[in-house]
Symmetry: C2
Subunit: 312 residues, 2 copies
């Protein structure tokens, strides 16, 4: 049983932590969003790749949901002394990952190679692949008070600095048109027994993965074997601005909205019991609908969810 997973950050990472308990980890390929990546303080930072690796390795900070557990913040304290930009927290342990990635990329190593090195150093056996080695960056045009398009900002400016509390008029993925899938990504999607769309933000996590030329087509070609897990539970995003973004960009912020968005490339949508009333609307969108417990309280719960997903 080989499985490829389209991944954003936290939700995907939790699903993967369960998946590697449900199937042999060597049979799992994570295809991870890179459109949240940025260069800050000169360092190449890949938040979703790191969240996936740290989570599957059991090293993620459980309270924050990002970065490493048992973290210290000495570098940030010095940066604060200078009045430097501390809005994006970089723990001391975590900094070592960014130093390594930055140096390797400066040496000419592709991000996919470096991501594999980092995953192996944490003892992981699954493949952790960026969707592309080319720079793709999410840019959000904020909505002015009257709803008209305003300032365009980078993803982390929206997500972290503005705490995703500002209305969005539109989203684009700069660089996507000319990006190519990273080595191994298309083959993994073509040969997997099941392709899972992780319960990540449909707009800014799954969206940019699908925007890399060839990915959406490769997934759609496997539509019958593609199982998406809804990031909307009980009508809301468990974490982050998925519901809000869906609404602001003209979609229905329910599992039915997700179903209509995913219908062209996914054959099945797994939704939570809390959304069971919308199962018919999901089916009306042309997807099989599976109702189960989708809340991944711990890796065991995630593993149970994965077994349901893989049973489809």
């Amino acid at each position: 049983m080989t499985v490829s997973v389209l991944c954003g950050g936290v939700g995907a990472a939790r699903l993967l932590a369960g998946l590697v308990r449900a199937v042999p980890p060597t049979e799992v390929v994570a295809v991870v969003n890179t459109a949240d990546d940025m260069v800050l303080h000169g360092l190449a930072i890949s938040p979703d790749l790191d969240t996936v690796v740290y989570t599957v390795a059991g090293a993620i900070d459980p309270e924050r949901g990002w970065g490493l557990r048992d973290e210290s913040w000495q570098a940030m304290a010095t940066l604060e002394r200078y009045g430097g930009a501390t809005w994006f927290g970089l723990g001391d342990r975590d900094l070592g990952t960014h130093l390594y990635r930055t140096q390797r990329i400066a040496e000419g190593a592709p991000l996919s190679t470096v991501s594999g090195e980092i995953a192996r150093a944490w003892g992981l056996q699954l493949a952790v692949l960026p969707v592309t080695d080319d720079p793709v960056r999410t840019r959000l045009t904020l909505a002015d008070a009257d709803g008209s398009p305003g300032e365009e900002v980078a993803f982390q400016d929206y997500f972290v600095a503005r705490r995703h509390e500002v209305p969005v008029a539109s989203v684009r993925f700069a660089g996507a048109e000319t990006a190519s899938p990273a080595p191994g990504v298309l083959a993994a999607l073509a040969t997997a027994d099941t392709v899972i769309v992780a319960p990540s933000n449909p707009i800014v996590s799954i969206g940019p993965v699908l925007a890399v030329p060839g990915i959406r087509e490769a997934v759609a070609a496997r539509r019958d074997s593609v199982v998406a897990v809804s990031p909307i539970v009980g009508g809301r995003a468990l974490k982050g601005p998925a519901d809000r973004l869906l609404r602001e960009l003209g979609h229905d912020d329910s599992v039915a909205g997700v179903a209509r968005l995913y219908a062209p490339f996914a054959g099945t949508l797994v939704i939570d019991h809390a959304d069971a009333e919308h199962a018919d609307a999901v089916r009306a969108a042309g997807l099989r609908c599976v109702v189960t417990d989708t809340i991944m309280r711990d890796p065991d719960a995630a593993s149970a969810l994965c077994k349901v997903v893989l049973g489809q």
Copy 2:
């Protein structure tokens, strides 16, 4: 009494820590070597500038002589997990300085501006100026076993990674020809009541400062007011490879050798009692010679030395 000081790292930093006790700090301008600077892990690292600031601020690690006291090494531990380059130690607190400098330079701020910001953040009142805002980099050609020129390496590769234990055939300062003095440097040298040449390595610390076009001429124009402190004490470098480099590059590794090297631009050489026997040789090179205690055990000793220097 205004004082400008040509500076390398540790020796210069200790002298400055004494100087700001001997004269008002606002009257002191440190003109600091940048040819040891490098980009590592994507970060802009300026070892001599940081050693000067940390030392004068009383924040330097007293045992290592570089980096910050009460330092932790979490980032390096993570980097080691990946098999990354850990030969150049970057403490967690220290990393904040490099993050800040890198970000500011990426924003377009000149190194001199950033160095001033960093110095002020540590509460320093003296001016800490890089000799130039342009990239100047020391390159050393190592000597093969038969003495012929071999591989050319960067400064930190020689100094840290190879622990300055390998013979050197020649030294050059890449980029120096096209570099310009940083804003304020030439004015400080022209107007200072005294110009001090700190007890830094004549070849790889003072050498690249003088190699920036206009600096050697500006110092030579003030020759009668230029007082150098010998980095050679008791016939040897107190720290680092100054004696060895002098010898390998065909100079005399004594205070007399330093005197002959500095004679074109310095009117006075201050030497230690341990080298008193060479005072006549210093005078024969055309410099006044002052014999005193030059070992800066603490800022008070450094301050006493500075009072002797400024008395000349």
